[in-house]
């Protein structure tokens, strides 16, 4: 494994509600190597986005973040614990060392400023640079992202660009300060499939050029297969399976991941084989979590008395592959 760029230990994020606090992310630990792509996969409400916002220090009160450590490696080989930084120090990290792009490119850009103004604003806050130099850098970024006529596009407002172009501008803004880590929260979900492929290709290329690590959040296993070095599957606020992309796609030992994979539609899927299999039931309500394994009410491998008794730990099942299942030895895709 490469040297760790980001190490998150025992992250817990809670939000108070009228029925008591809910734990959106529960005791989550993971690491991202430098230059590596970690894909976090999970259904809506599994805690993927909350995790990324917690790393960025963007969970707004009354949400509470607790972590043993969120360590980010420096260029000079040291590391800082982001969870101990002051807000002012954290601002220097945000946008400069860790950048983030979001799902909805239409609403994630400010509609009243031009693309250029928004990119230049980010550059000039982090680097002492003249307006002109920042503008040149912004233009260069747009060019790098394959936006035709970048100089002209700097003066365009978000609503004058297509969804794909907006997401490119968004990526340009995120990468303009050369971060060592990019967090991409479902950046392709709102785009149509061909544009999706272009954006994925682009992120992969830029990652290589910039030597940057990527945390890519998606609910789409197809996208995960395209881009992942390693994958972390989340369910109800916890990591339930972690491993290399190969280990997970070729030899998952987790009933939940198997369910997810079966429910991906494939070309040439036989029409006679009936409707696309789906995982029965719904993601549990975080306020009323089932006892034991949080997936057991929906699990085909459920064993009464075992799975509903205690929460399974993350267990190693070979070469850096972890699963949270008591019966993983008996589970096969």
């Amino acid at each position: 494994m490469t040297q760790a760029l980001l190490e998150v230990e025992n992250l817990k994020v809670t939000f108070p509600t009228e029925e008591g606090p809910i734990t959106a992310v529960d005791d989550l630990s993971f690491r991202v190597g430098s230059g590596e792509t970690l894909v976090i996969v999970g259904e809506s409400g599994s805690g993927k986005s909350v995790t990324s916002l917690a790393v960025m220090g963007l969970i707004a009160p009354p949400g509470r973040v607790a972590a043993k450590a969120i360590r980010l490696a420096d260029e000079d080989g040291g590391a800082r614990d982001l969870s101990r930084l002051s807000e002012a120090e954290m601002r220097r990290v945000r946008g400069a060392e860790i950048a983030m792009i979001f799902q909805e490119p239409m609403t994630s850009l400010n509609p009243v400023y031009t693309i250029g103004e928004q990119i230049i604003e980010a550059i000039r806050f982090h680097e002492a640079m003249s307006r002109r130099a920042a503008r040149a850098r912004a233009e260069e970024m747009l060019k790098l992202l394959g936006i035709p006529e970048p100089r002209r596009r700097l003066d365009a407002y978000p609503h004058q660009l297509s969804g794909g172009m907006r997401q490119r501008a968004m990526i340009g803004m995120a990468l303009s300060c050369r971060p060592s880590l990019l967090i991409a929260d479902e950046p392709t979900t709102a785009l149509d499939v061909t544009v999706q492929a272009q954006i994925l290709e682009l992120i992969r290329g830029l990652q290589k050029d910039f030597g940057m690590a990527v945390i890519f959040i998606t609910h789409n296993l197809g996208v995960a297969a395209e881009i992942a070095d390693r994958i972390m599957v989340m369910y109800a606020g916890q990591a339930v399976e972690t491993g290399s992309a190969r280990a997970i796609f070729r030899g998952t030992r987790l009933p939940y991941t198997i369910g997810l994979m079966r429910s991906v539609p494939r070309l040439g899927l036989d029409r006679d084989s009936g409707p696309l299999p789906a995982i029965p039931g719904n993601v549990p309500d975080l306020r009323r979590l089932p006892n034991g394994c949080r997936f057991h009410p929906r699990c085909a491998w459920f064993e009464p008395g075992l799975c509903d008794a205690e929460l399974p730990p993350l267990e190693a099942c070979g070469d850096g592959h972890l699963v949270r299942c008591l019966r993983w030895r008996k589970v096969h895709a």
């Binding site: 945000r94 979001f102 806050f125 982090h126």
Partner: protein, 361 residues
């Protein structure tokens, strides 16, 4: 056509962009033209309503003018002179033609041109309105912004309680109380009028502050300013409360939008996020409220002008209606409609500056 997509995208995209840019411009002018036509329609409508209500009211204008002493002969002569013997449609058309030339007839009470009475009273109202609205904006917007930052906390609660009083307080009561406290009991400020007794700079604009400044005497300016403070504070109360409340609500709604999260993810300081990415985007509804208040206040702050004996448009209109001075009422009503529609047009046009997405209705 199977051509490489990227090579097509360049020139095509440019064409589309420049075309939309140009059509944005012409669309804006078409919009302004359309709004001016609307203005004309509104004025015609107002003229119909004003003219006919004044004429269906009981009482004979000629008789009113002559009083009890008029003989039948004199009455008939005056009716002929005023054109009151003509069919009402003819009277209306005459009125419209004359009005289009700025001639609304002669005031029945002051014997001056009716329009001169109206345009003479307007600067007083304009100055009062601008002073009140400036006060309301510069206090209301920051109050709303601060209240929105920590909703439910002490500042927010105090501010929202006060603004609730602000929007529901009877303005005449507040004016009288201020008058009583600062004018009578404490004797800090004058109780009414534009200037102190015996002080009056030469009339240039009709706005006391500007005329006083033009007169070049600091003491006159100070006097005019002191006369403006109480009425401006009184008139500012309701708009201030509205502006503070709408600012708070819009700030809170905007703060949860995705692009604000993006701004924070860029590492921008909180103050910059709040001012440039939240307040800036919340401005449209705030400007709308300010514009609406501007239109309302300009059409005459009747109560405030009455309490503080200011010779403004609102008081002129009330006096004219009570004394059945119909030329002044007609001139005033049309003038108010004109100002109101114009202010709304300006507010709508300001949207195009505030929001690049808005280019048409």
């Amino acid at each position: 056509m199977a051509i490489e997509p990227r090579r097509v995208a360049g020139p095509f995209a440019r064409m589309r962009m420049s075309a939309s840019w140009r059509s944005d411009r012409s669309e804006l002018w078409r919009y302004i033209g359309w709004r001016l036509i609307q203005l004309a329609i509104v004025l015609i409508g107002v003229s119909v309503v004003v003219f006919f209500t004044m004429h269906v009211l009981p009482g004979d204008v000629a008789m009113l003018l002559l009083g009890d002493r008029g003989t039948a002969e004199q009455l008939a002569k005056l009716r002929l002179q005023l054109g009151l013997d003509q069919p009402i449609i003819v009277q209306y058309l005459r009125f419209v033609v004359a009005a289009a030339h700025g001639d609304f007839g002669t005031s029945l009470t002051s014997n001056r041109a009716a329009f001169a009475d109206v345009s003479g009273a307007f600067p007083v109202t304009l100055q009062l309105t601008l002073a009140a609205l400036t006060l309301a904006t510069f206090i209301g917007v920051p109050t709303g912004v601060f209240a929105s930052l920590k909703p439910g906390r002490i500042f927010d609660n105090v501010a929202m309680t006060f603004t609730l009083f602000g929007v529901s307080m009877p303005i005449f009561w507040l004016g009288l109380m201020l008058l009583l406290l600062f004018g009578a009991t404490l004797d800090w400020l004058p109780i009414g009028g534009l200037y102190g007794v015996g002080i009056e700079p030469p009339r240039v604009t009709g706005m006391s502050l500007i005329d006083a400044a033009l007169a070049g005497s600091p003491s006159i300016f100070w006097d005019a300013l002191r006369h403006l403070i109480l009425p401006a504070c009184t008139l500012a109360t309701v708009p201030l409360a509205f502006i503070a409340r709408i600012t708070r609500a819009e700030m809170m709604a905007t703060a949860t939008q995705d692009h604000v999260r993006t701004a924070r993810a860029k590492g921008l300081p909180r103050a910059r996020v709040i001012l440039r990415h939240v307040l800036r985007n919340a401005l449209i509804p705030i400007v709308t409220v300010i514009g609406l208040q501007l239109g309302l206040l300009l059409s005459g702050a009747v109560l405030t002008e009455t309490i503080f004996s200011l010779p403004g448009l609102g008081r002129l209109m009330v006096d004219s209606i009570l004394s059945r001075d119909y030329p002044v009422v007609q001139a005033g009503a049309l003038f108010i409609a004109f100002v109101f529609v114009l202010v709304n047009l300006l507010v709508d046009l300001s949207y195009t500056l505030l929001d690049p997405r808005i280019r048409r209705a």
